[in-house]
């Protein structure tokens, strides 16, 4: 399958929502620094899979293997949370300035104010957001919002970045900008999982996995 | 989100601790006196209580409610001493062991007030029972406290004595204190049985003159009873006994006799 080192493996993962099975995966190996498109129609379980990998959702059954150790899900979920960042299809931006939004996650890590400031500045430059730094994030356009969300995630340097339909409901120009940011992110040595129902090759992925009715289709 | 339930319990514990800490000054040494609105509203207690509490350094908390509730507080052990006016109910408290002994303190008077036109023609009668009969037969309106207070108990007793079961459109049970009941009687132009003190205090705001006073059956005795520490061990019995001794002293009697509302003496000490 891949020569890349293994990062996380999940096995026998099942998730029910209101008594309906929405996800049923025998095995999925997440390799370090690969770009994967999770493809499937609406309601096929893409978001659920990404949220489980983000540690935002707990499956009803399943085990996870990290660093070669099989862990109970409670421990694994910490590992997921520490290493993964999940981006919603419609990103939620906090009711504060763009730079405060981008700095949000960084504030939970030990950084001096000056280091934090310069990291935020360079991240905004990377995404072409510098001119919007003081604006309230709520007032931005859809494309700008998605870029703020991407920058806010990237600055944390997560080992696994989970993007849920990142370019849905976006105009052509914003899509182009967003694609190039995502490709840039994917080449940075971290794993990127992108859920989409659009054509997978838009993202030039290393691998495509297909979900149908919650099951992986090989 | 399982954590959140744990946080919730944690915060509940913090909340309770805060409350207990803030509330823990449930001060001891306080004397709790349950009494009727008539003694409080007439201003008598405001004169009596400071004289007692200042000279002995015993803070007195006055809880003014209807006689029925005051006696209930005593039975439940929520107060140390009661000063009320419903002799039979007071004796019940003593006989059931919740009160130690009943001491006579003072008396005032029940009067009947009513509309100036006096449609039931009771003016000048010297007996409350006779007046009640005339009111019931005239069809004039009558306002009853209806709150199991001392005044209400007295009113029921008079109806019993003249063998009338008051009901119908003319009989209005309002379930309120004396002051509010008088105001309602005034608005409705109805007759009402009232203690003279509350009537005097409100006299200038009402057009509801007294028609029957000095009646042979109008005397209203106030008794004082300490709550029995054998039933409720936390009762501040020393302070309660000091207060009972003091209220029967010459000093207190002078205050009671000297207390005037609208120039009239309200309470008479029992020798």
């Amino acid at each position: 399958m891949s020569n890349l080192p293994e990062f996380i493996t999940i096995q026998n993962v099942q998730k029910y929502i209101s008594n309906r099975m929405v996800l049923d995966i025998d095995e999925l190996v997440v390799y370090q620094s690969e770009c994967v498109v999770v493809h499937g129609p609406n309601g096929s379980g893409k978001s659920t899979l990404l949220k489980i990998l983000a540690g935002l959702m707990t499956p009803d059954s399943g085990v996870a293997t990290t660093n070669g150790v099989v862990r109970p899900w409670r421990q694994a979920i910490r590992e997921f949370r520490a290493n993964a960042v999940y981006l919603h299809q419609t990103p939620y931006l906090f009711d504060r300035s763009v730079e405060d939004n981008i700095a949000y996650g960084l504030r939970f890590r030990n950084r001096s104010q000056s280091v934090l400031f310069s990291e935020v500045q360079s991240a905004m430059e990377w995404a072409g957001l510098s001119h919007l730094a003081k604006r309230n994030a709520r007032d931005l356009s859809g494309g700008e919002k998605q870029r703020v969300a991407l920058t806010r995630a990237r600055i944390l340097e997560p080992k696994l970045l989970l993007l849920d339909e990142p370019t849905a409901a976006m105009d052509r120009k914003s899509r182009k900008q967003t694609f190039s940011l995502i490709r840039d992110l994917a080449s940075g040595g971290n794993a990127v999982y992108i859920a989409t129902h659009e054509a997978a090759d838009l993202y030039q992925p290393d691998r495509v996995i297909q979900l149908d009715y919650g099951k992986l289709v090989v | 989100m399982i954590h959140s339930l744990r946080f919730l319990l944690f915060s509940l514990a913090i909340t309770l601790t805060l409350v207990m800490a803030s509330a823990n000054h449930a001060a001891d040494g306080i004397l709790r006196l349950a009494t009727t609105t008539s003694t409080e509203n007439s201003g008598l207690l405001a004169k009596l209580v400071p004289q007692f509490s200042d000279s002995r350094d015993i803070p007195v908390h006055v809880i003014a409610v209807g006689t029925g509730r005051a006696l209930n507080h005593a039975r439940n052990g929520d107060v140390d001493v009661v000063l009320v006016h419903a002799k039979n109910a007071e004796l019940d408290l003593v006989n059931s062991g919740f009160g130690i002994e009943r001491y006579e303190v003072m008396y005032n008077e029940f009067v009947i007030a009513g509309p100036e036109t006096d449609p039931a023609e009771i003016s000048g009668l010297s007996n409350l029972g006779t007046a009640f009969e005339k009111i019931a037969n005239s069809g004039a309106l009558f306002v009853s406290r209806g709150d199991d207070s001392g005044t209400h108990k007295k009113e029921r007793q008079i109806w019993d004595e003249v063998d009338i079961e008051p009901n119908g459109d003319w009989y209005k049970e309002v379930g309120l204190g004396m002051g509010r009941s008088l105001q309602i009687a005034d608005e409705l132009r109805a007759y009402i049985l009232t203690d003279k003190g509350t009537w005097l205090a409100l006299k200038r705001k009402l057009s509801l003159p007294v028609h029957v006073q000095g009646a042979s059956d109008g005397r209203n005795d106030y008794g004082i009873i300490a709550v029995n520490p054998e039933k409720h061990s936390h009762v501040n019995i020393e302070a309660a006994e000091q207060f009972i001794d003091w209220i029967q002293s010459d000093e207190a009697k002078a205050v009671i006799s000297g207390h005037k509302v609208e120039g009239e003496q309200l309470f008479y000490v029992i020798e």
Binding site: A54, G55, L56 | T15, V19, H25, A27, H61, G77, H232
Partner: protein, 233 residues
């Protein structure tokens, strides 16, 4: 209506000449209600979060119960609390009856459902994605709560103001468990009830004026802060 005008004029005189008894009653009212709200708000916020984002059986039933309890009459709370705190009741040993402590507990119970219901509504105004975003960006549960509280700050303030308004004006519970004791548990509403029964309408109106002024001041303050924020956008 000579009576009303005369009483109002006298009420103003009482207030502005700094009638000590009136201002003491006002102070007791504020101190009791302020502490009640202060103590219960953290629990109310946590409960609202649990109801909004929690995933446990009976959640919907609990929301319905909380909403129903908003309408709980103060006297009912007073009566139940009286029975619990009475010396003959299960918690009589605490000796809390007829103290400010008892009033505070009563007002906490009264404020709780209103606070939870209002905060819960504000939280529902924020998408679940807000919570998930804070969490996935590394916020602990507590930090995430503070983030969301900041997002719904106006709803939160409105809930607290409404809760304070509910308890500072309630009479049924305070009179029942506080006993309306002068200098100790006589607050604005119980004093108004007493003064009215004595026919002392001036005092009643004066105290009512303090309550209304307070309510206006609080609501203007909230509206101003909110308006300033709206203007920023």
């Amino acid at each position: 209506m000579d009576g009303l005008i005369g009483a109002s004029a006298e009420a103003l005189r009482l207030l502005f000449t700094g009638d000590r008894e009136i201002w003491e009653i006002v102070a007791i009212s504020f101190s009791v209600s302020f502490r009640a709200i202060l103590y219960i708000v953290p629990l109310a916020i946590l409960s609202a979060f649990a109801l909004a984002y929690g995933n446990f059986p009976g959640r919907r039933v609990l929301i319905t119960i909380v909403n129903a309890l908003v309408a709980l009459p103060a006297v009912v709370v007073g009566l139940l609390l009286y029975m619990l705190l009475s010396s003959s009741g299960p918690f009589g040993g605490w000796r809390l009856l007829f103290t400010q402590g008892a009033m505070i507990i009563g007002q906490m119970i009264l404020a709780f459902p209103l606070l939870v219901a209002m905060i819960h509504v504000s939280l529902q105004g924020v998408d679940l994605s807000a919570w998930q975003t804070a969490r996935t960006l590394g916020a602990s549960i507590f930090r995430a709560m503070f983030t969301i509280m900041r997002e719904v700050r106006f709803g939160l303030i409105a809930a607290i103001v409404a809760g304070f308004g509910r308890v500072v004006s309630e009479v049924g519970c305070s009179i029942m468990v506080g006993g309306n004791i002068l200098h100790h548990t006589r607050n604005i509403p119980t004093a108004i009830a007493l003064e009215t029964s004595k026919g002392e309408f001036e005092q009643g109106i004066a105290l009512g004026a303090v309550l209304i002024t307070l309510a206006l001041a609080l609501n203007f303050a909230v509206a101003t802060v909110r308006g300033r924020d709206m203007a920023r956008h």
